[in-house]
């Protein structure tokens, strides 16, 4: 058997879809997409941020961002952005996860 035949066989050998790696890669992808900038801070959309924002009725408040910096924020605006991003990315994550589950 010559070299090219061996190489050809190696290329055509079956590669199993790595569900574990795909699931983790997907998590990294959507966790990154949950980040957004608002005011002078960097925020991660999620239940913790949304709940905190909903708990208060003030229009302006101080929150600590992803970098650990206290930032003065426009509460209703940040809440709106956080909810929008959270819903958008969760739906996209779910769709992609469902299609990956079928991959063989």
């Amino acid at each position: 058997m010559d070299n090219s035949t061996v190489q050809n066989m190696a290329q055509n050998v079956r590669h199993y879809f790595d569900h574990d790696a795909a699931k983790k890669a997907l998590k990294e992808k959507y966790e990154a997409k949950l980040l957004f900038a608002h005011g002078n801070g960097m925020w991660r959309a999620g239940p913790k941020l949304i709940s905190t924002l909903r708990l208060w009725k003030l229009n302006e408040m101080v929150l600590v961002d992803e970098y650990g910096n206290p930032c003065k924020v426009d509460r209703p605006e940040l809440e709106r952005e956080a909810i929008m991003r959270w819903q958008e990315q969760m739906n996209a994550w779910y769709q992609e996860y469902e299609s990956l589950r079928k991959e063989r």
Partner: protein
Amino acid sequence: MSQGFMIFAFNNAKIDYLAQAIWVGHRIREYLDKPVTIVTDVASFEEHAQHLAAFNVIQTEPLALGQRNFDIFNDDRVALWYNANRYQAYEITPYDETIVIDSDYIVSSGQLNLLFDSPHDFLTHRAVHDVTSKNSFEAFDTFGTTQMPHYWATVLYFRKGALAKQIFNLVTMIKTNYKYYSKLYQFMGHPYRNDYAVSLAQLIAYGHRIDAVPSIPWLLNTAPADATITQIDDKTFEFRYEKWIHGQPAPKNMRVKISEQDVHCLEKFSMGEMISG
């Protein structure tokens, strides 16, 4: 404030880095809608002059980090590794805010634009995510026997100003006195590593307070050197690799797809084949 990307690309006898940079540069234009400056040398430029019209090009002398084997499966792919010019980025960038990326960093999303909204003037990645889920980079969390935190210079964001200038001055100082720093922090003094110089420069700039150094708030997706790449569609790539599964007598052939997600591809030869079509 002007914003843009810079890619340093100097060809050697084994790898066409400039072809990678041109390919990645077009993807930056497509996904991030920002101008791209490619820094290269005369010899590499002459090979690709007709493909560089879409970019701002800066020509400079390449500086070698040393010899490197570019293929972990073959020992005949050793060549000079020209990747020491990054310390010049601050002086030569035409932008107020710049993201310097490696030519093997495949852009497939708009994620990097978020760095332009960052409150920090200088950022690199602190942590890596191995897309093959083999944790190939665990050993790279720190460097040297003093276990200094390892920051990755693969993606480097800076906004022109006092802090960024100071960090680049420190990188230059560390590069000039690399042997001294390798002895001080007890890591290999050769070849020169951009990652180490940038890590130490940030640490010094932030007053040697490890917790004070900010980093890019997501992980650097990286495919290890044993994972070969093929392109499925414009924004989807498949990596093939071997993986040991618990209880199995031999490694299994595995594949994973990465879609709409940036990825740092360490295996240069399959990437080269993919780009050349």
